[in-house]
């Protein structure tokens, strides 16, 4: 299937790839965007960097969710559409713990904040890991040998079921939490300030990415994941418990979604039962942009999407503005799927991550 996805586009037109006009147009578009960014940087440097930092942080949060999509795709070649909703449940667990269990108020002291965050993180990660593994057990495993449309449909069905559970639990309104991460300034340079809450997001995302790469590349379990991704039957013949390996992958992806949910609620301070669907789509776009199946690509794609959103909404010189953000993000999804389906860094399954 991987080889099929790598087939050059438009071969059905003439039996050959389209002439080299397409990359040229792509290059021209990228150049235009760079010129536009350059002019904005020249005109309002402080705002440019402020917006860049917003985009980077938002992208890092998307990245954690995109990792879950890409990890599952890498091993099963299945888009787990319920992943965004598992992330939402992580956010809801966090909101419950922040407001009801620990009753945190605006900017609590470090001694009351961090133990609460760690406990919440553990609960959110464990809860979402179990939920994701359960989804796999119920909706995907029985369909392991069914046509590919079947697990795709059950994935969408699971997505709606989890959304409705979120709705029954928390109701239709946005669940709002007080801002608990410090907005204290780390540095302020020429009108650009960098605050602790943004750094905390990066301090969580980067180690998670490194840890994941280490897990997949260096551990015995990672080796089993790579083997199962490469050829499930051969892996089974070599004594690898394929089902257990897949369950493990879903556990890890779920835990990532839990961590992302926690980070999202702590940083953005609100979430709704359908947030997972929208943000899940954005994260999925990020994963496709970076090259689905590719761990580093997922984070890179997410950061790029975060930056595109922020630049579009935050820059003042001829930016299309927030009305166009969704159109731009999903146009990128279409363009990437049509012209470069392997993504920026190339599609990879965990064997080469």
């Amino acid at each position: 299937m991987v080889a099929e996805a790598r087939r050059p586009p438009f071969t059905w037109l003439s039996g050959r790839s389209l002439p080299s006009v397409v990359p040229l147009i792509g290059l021209l578009l990228v150049l235009l965007v760079l010129v536009w960014l350059g002019i904005n940087l020249y005109k309002t440097p402080a705002d440019f960097f402020t917006v860049l930092l917003f985009g980077l942080t938002n992208g890092a949060v998307y990245g954690l969710i995109a990792l879950g999509y890409t990890l599952v795709y890498g091993i099963l070649e299945l888009i787990n559409f319920a992943h965004g909703d598992v992330f939402m449940m992580g956010g809801m667990i966090t909101a419950t713990f922040v407001t009801s269990v620990f009753s945190l108020h605006d900017y609590p002291s470090a001694t009351s904040l961090w133990p609460a965050v760690l406990v919440t993180l553990a609960v959110a990660m464990a809860g979402c890991a179990l939920l994701n593994a359960t989804v796999e057990r119920i909706a995907y495993r029985p369909l392991r040998h069914a046509p590919r449309l079947a697990p795709l449909l059950t994935a969408i069905a699971m997505s709606f079921i989890i959304q409705n559970i979120g709705l029954a639990w928390k109701g239709p309104a946005y669940v709002s939490t007080p801002p608990v991460l410090s907005r204290g300034t780390i540095f302020s340079l020429g009108g650009v300030t960098y605050t602790w809450n943004k750094l905390i997001v990066l301090l969580i995302t980067v180690p998670v990415l490194l840890g994941l790469v280490w897990l997949v590349q260096r551990t015995r379990q990672g080796k089993a994941m790579r083997a199962a991704a490469q050829d499930r039957d051969a892996a089974a013949m070599m004594g690898i418990n394929v089902n257990r390996t897949i369950s493990f992958t879903f556990l890890i992806a779920g835990a990532l979604a839990g961590a992302a949910g926690l980070l999202y609620v702590l940083y953005f301070t609100n979430i709704r039962f359908d947030s997972g669907f929208q943000i899940g789509l954005i994260a999925f776009t990020a994963a496709v942009l970076g090259g689905i199946g590719n761990l580093t690509g997922a984070v890179l794609g997410a950061v790029l999407i975060g930056l595109i959103q922020a630049f579009n909404e935050g820059l003042s010189w001829h930016a299309p503005g927030s009305s166009w953000t969704q159109s731009i993000v999903f146009s990128i999804l279409i363009l990437i799927l049509v012209f470069r389906p392997e993504g920026l860094l190339g599609e990879q399954t965990p064997e080469g991550a």
Binding site: F54, F268, E313, Q326
Partner: protein, 443 residues
């Protein structure tokens, strides 16, 4: 086999959970199966009528319905509005002249959106039109929803069904001109006969009142954000025109996306434009509290934030935006419940007791007034839909709950005051009433 059975059981449990959630989403939880109303139970609460409460005998001759969003951020307000309508109806012993009247509270929102939903509005409109026992409708709450229901009720079989809105401020529902879209309001009245009145004033008054408030707050440069809905777009336009007339500089106008994760980049753009005031033309349900939080975090407390009545109820604004809501200004058409005189003060005092002493949301008195206006029109009518509709346009209230007022041929009230509130502590405090001049409203 056992494994399959286990999977089946788990799947069944998940399915049941989904169904439970679905039924939560589909309507009021308090619906009693034994008291099903004539309107669809999916959207409407059972008939509220005397016999169940020890008054009257048999079923009511006519039904009045209210069409309000009962889910989402507006719920605290609309729940009080329904209670106010019930209070008025029970006070009149479920009668309007010689006719017995029952009441059904219908919901035009869905759990998925947490606010009014166009499909739900249209479905509700059809139900009211098709059910001949429905003699009049109180609603809608949102102008966008009114646009869908008015034309359906306008050509209802058996004559146009009259509507009384307690809170629609969208300009184009009743008049053309600034703040209305091309073709409005005629497109809503296919029979060329009007069937819609409202007891609050329009946004061509509210927008300019917001501009007067901005000027009084010494805002020189203002940035306008709108939510792209009918109401948000209209009120932003009338605000912008009046602000320019008052000499304020409009440094930009942008839309905010309700589904965005963050508005901090947008706030940076506002900061860059050098605005010392932001006008938020839209409704709180469109992720409004997150917007306020992000604006405050980037712009600080020095930049003043003003919103129209779409930012009510204050309780949702304060609980959702937390400390960021403090110091925000909100304009609301009409007088605050506490400042009502005469019949209004009497109503507020008595009704508050039924609500456990809780403070009343901005539109509660207007919902009660709407009920009074509709019941009086039914009383004066010959019992037909068109007669009730005709009587609505003859409304002339003296010392009513919201004061003395008349309804003109367009269906508008001549009460034109707009109250400005500031959010302080756990509620909004009324600070000043504004009466924009004709020069400012352009009418």
């Amino acid at each position: 086999m056992r494994k399959r059975l286990l999977i089946g059981v788990v799947a069944a449990v998940a399915g049941t959970l989904a169904l439970v959630a679905g039924s939560y989403a589909s309507g009021e939880k308090s619906a009693r199966p034994s008291a099903r109303g004539v309107l669809p139970a999916g959207s409407c609460a059972p008939v509220y009528y005397g016999p169940r409460y020890g008054q009257g005998r048999g079923g009511p001759k006519y039904i009045i319905a209210s069409d309000l969003p009962m889910q989402g951020a507006n719920r605290p307000q609309t729940t009080q509005m329904v209670a106010a309508i019930k209070y008025i109806l029970a006070g009149r012993k479920f009668k309007a002249g010689k006719y017995t009247i029952g009441y059904q509270a219908c919901d035009d929102s869905t759990a998925e959106t947490g606010k009014w939903n166009s499909a739900k509005c249209t479905d509700n409109g059809r139900s009211y039109a098709d059910d001949r026992s429905v003699i009049g409708v109180i609603g809608t709450f949102n102008s966008g929803c009114a646009k869908l229901i008015i034309p359906i009720l306008n050509r209802a079989p058996g004559g146009a069904v009259g509507m009384v809105s307690p809170s629609n401020t969208g300009v184009g529902l009743t008049v053309s001109g600034l703040g209305a879209n091309p073709g409005e309001p005629d497109i809503y009245y296919p029979t060329h006969k009007r069937n819609y009145i409202r007891v609050v004033t329009r946004d061509d008054i509210q927008g300019p009142a917001g501009a007067l408030l901005a000027k009084s707050l010494k805002i020189k440069k203002v940035f306008i954000l709108e939510d792209k809905e009918v109401y948000g777009h209209g009120v932003s336009t009338t605000f912008e025109t009046a602000a320019k007339k008052l000499g304020l500089t409009v440094t930009g106008r942008e839309a905010w996306d309700p589904k965005a994760s963050s508005y901090e980049p947008l706030a940076t753009r506002i900061k860059q434009a050098g605005a010392n005031g932001v006008y938020l033309g839209g409704i709180i349900c469109n992720n409004g509290t997150k917007l306020v939080k992000d604006l405050r975090s980037v712009l600080g407390t020095g930049v003043k934030i003003i919103g129209p009545d779409g930012w009510t109820p204050f309780s949702s604004l304060i609980s959702g935006a937390g400390s960021a809501a403090q110091g925000m200004y909100v304009t609301v058409p009409g007088a605050p419940p506490e400042s009502l005189k005469g019949a209004g003060a009497k109503f507020v005092k008595a009704f508050k007791k039924t609500q456990g002493g809780k403070s009343l949301a901005s539109y509660v008195a207007y919902a009660a007034q709407s009920a009074v206006v509709l019941l009086d029109a039914i009383k004066r009518s010959n019992g037909s839909r068109s007669s009730v509709t005709a009587q609505l346009f003859k409304t002339n209230v003296k010392n009513g709950i919201v004061g003395s007022f008349k309804i003109d041929k367009n269906g508008d009230t001549n009460l034109a005051g707009i109250t400005a509130y500031i959010i302080k502590g756990n509620d909004g405090k009324a600070i000043k009433a504004f009466y924009p001049t004709k020069k400012l409203t352009g009418r």
